[in-house]
């Protein structure tokens, strides 16, 4: 390019060193030829600054001495003739393998010096650290605070990506949200007496073996309204007897629930550890809910008989339990 030629002739005229002052006040004496390849410094030199210690080139605040030396290393290697392209590329590779803090600082410094090629190199290195990693890994690399509120995280990401991992996250968060809501309701219920304002439908389905995940069932029932009722026969585990039985049927229900969430054809690659944890949490919750099951059962049966037969759909759910009087 013609620009370096221009620089070199200028070098011959006015001596080989320039003085540069960084933001902390320290003044550095630098080879002019090398420093000139940084656009901002070059510009300053052209306007007559930097020839003596008293009038050094003042660099923008983002450039501290450590960064300056890195930048000069870069200039030194790249703009001095005699290195093959391969050598330059391997230098770039090594150069970009510094820790993230320094890389960010260097990018910032290069940007303030309008040093496009160096900005490009460091940006590429930073992009490499992001590409293909999970969000947790990226947060760890860059020390990002995991500060999206539960709400924000629980909002299914409206953006675009159909990445299975994001869909999984959505699903898990949706489940977690339900749990949170359920726990809240449980708390409320514990304060109020076991006043049940569920519809008869729900009660019947509660009886009919959607053991424990009554609230989940309600939502799943809602979902069913918009979909086919094919899941109903599946949600028919043996009638509840013991907490253990409840626990297993919970998992059974959980699986069918997952099918509901499966709006497309994506494989459920839930992390097994996470799945286990959630399973356990749901079990706990279910157990808590079912701890007063026998008393409930009495109440419901008595109230059910008073009200008479339920709507058609509930009898269709489980013919084995006869609600007719």
């Amino acid at each position: 390019m013609s620009e370096p030629d221009l620089q070199i002739t200028k070098v011959e005229k006015t001596g080989p060193y320039v003085w540069i002052q960084t933001a902390d006040g320290s003044i550095h004496e630098v080879e002019k030829e090398v420093a000139s390849f940084c656009p901002l410094i070059c510009h300053e030199i052209e306007s007559g600054v930097g020839y003596s210690k008293d009038y050094p080139i003042a660099l923008p605040p983002r450039v501290n001495p450590a960064m300056l030396s890195l930048i000069l290393d870069y200039c030194q290697f790249h703009y001095v003739a005699g290195h093959s392209n391969k050598e330059r590329r391997s230098f770039d590779e090594k150069f970009s393998h510094m820790d993230t803090k320094r890389l960010c600082e260097l990018t910032s410094a290069a940007d303030s010096l309008q040093f496009k090629s160096l900005v490009d190199l460091t940006s590429r290195a930073l992009a490499r650290m992001i590409e293909g990693k999970t969000p947790d890994e990226i947060r760890e690399t860059f020390h990002l605070p995991d500060d999206l509120t539960e709400e924000e995280k629980l909002e299914p990401l409206k953006n675009t990506t159909d990445d299975p991992r994001i869909r999984l996250l959505n699903r898990l968060y949706a489940r977690k949200r339900k749990e949170l809501i359920d726990r809240q309701k449980l708390k409320n219920e514990a304060e109020v007496e076991h006043e049940d304002d569920r519809s008869v439908d729900d009660l019947l389905s509660f009886i009919n073996g959607k053991d424990g995940d009554s609230k989940e069932v309600r939502s799943s029932k809602n979902k069913k309204k918009s979909r086919k009722k094919k899941n109903q026969p599946k949600n028919h585990p043996p009638s509840c007897s013991s907490p253990n039985g409840n626990a297993s049927s919970n998992t059974g229900n959980r699986l069918s629930l997952e099918e509901e969430f499966d709006d497309c054809d994506i494989d459920d690659e839930i992390d097994p550890a996470l799945k286990e944890k959630l399973d356990r949490e749901v079990e706990d919750f279910a157990r808590r809910l079912n701890s007063d099951w026998p008393e409930r059962m009495q109440e419901i049966l008595s109230s059910g008989q008073e009200r008479g037969p339920g709507p058609v759909s509930s009898t269709a759910i489980d013919p084995s339990i006869n609600v007719q009087e």
């Binding site: 993230t100 910032s108 992009a127 992001i130 020390h143 500060d147 999206l148 924000e152 953006n159 990506t161």
Partner: protein, 423 residues
Amino acid sequence: MANSSGQDIVSDLPQSIIEIILTKLPIRDAVRTSILSSRWRYKWATLTQLVFDDNCVSQFNDRTATENKLVKFITRFLFLHEGPIHKFTLSTYYLQSSPDIDQWLLFLSRKGIKELVLEVGEDEWFRAPSCLFACLKLTSLELLRCELDPPPEFRGFSCLKYLNLQQVLVAPEVIENLISGCPLLESLTLSYFDSLALTVRAPNLKYLKLEGEFKDICLEYTPLLVVISVAMYMTDDKTEHFEQSSGCNFDKFLGGVPCLEKLTGQIYFTKYMSIGYELGKVPLTYDHLKLIQLYQVSFEDMKEILVVLRLILSSPNLQELQISSSSNAIAASEASDLNFWETDCPTGFTLKKLKTVKMSDLSGVPHEMEFLKFLLKNSPVLEVMSILPGIYVSCGKLNVVIELLRFRRASAKAEIIFIRDQM
């Protein structure tokens, strides 16, 4: 590689740098940064350079499902995007002509799109919707496998500098009007057209690349043209071309390009240029022409040799010449007009700047050898002449070398490098 201080520095970088970083990621990864932290939630949404391709979505065997996913991805992305979009590239095998693409283009036309690349589908050709012609801020347009039919009121893209059309179905007048309607056009590439007859009027055109079967090209007004690259195919029935074109093709093509610096011609280029040669006028001098590359020149056709000579002799500052021959010594008939080189060839002409000559696919036919002799005799500063024999020349190689040795060289520095076996 984490640092020990645990400070979040990267989020403090200016948005312009964050955008540079995000632009270097595949778009899917860029969008996923939205769940990293609260500050990163919408950093991706102001990206101005978008590249969508088949890697944006996980792919399934069911083509329709993948297509739907891709459509959903792009639509939702655009819906959530904020600010201008300068560059949009869509390169996909899955999408065919679809109403979604039309909507995206309408959206882009409202977002100040400047650079657009569309490569969609493989079976059907995508019909460019009229919204494309409403993107008046376009500076760069690249279309592949597309049908162009601009509305009658379309006057051209007044900011367009770069145009690349490949396998585009379009009426010739439309292309001509398009070119004329883009006064700032600097680079034009037309590939894989069938039987195109084109007159080019482009006052700012600097780079021209043509590839395909062209019936007739006339560079009527292209005064600033610097680089020309042509790969010209012809139909089998070559006589058809002889009848159809009128006038001298050489003049029509190279008659108005005084600033030419680099010329590359392939396949049937020299044959095309030789049509109507005898009708040629006084040749233009190409003072800036430094590099000439002519491939597949038939040294058995006298007219093609004349075209090559004319080009060389009209370029006083020529520095490098690369020629490949399409002759075949085995099939060559007796060379006629060999005394042309003695009698009619212009003499007293030196190629004062010619330093490098590369001749490939040499088969040793007499005209080829005479041509090399001519070059060696008239190039006082020649440094290197490389000769690569054609693949089919097996026993004739030694003869070629012997002949070459005899030729007189005007340049004391000239090295003749005979490259034996490439395989």
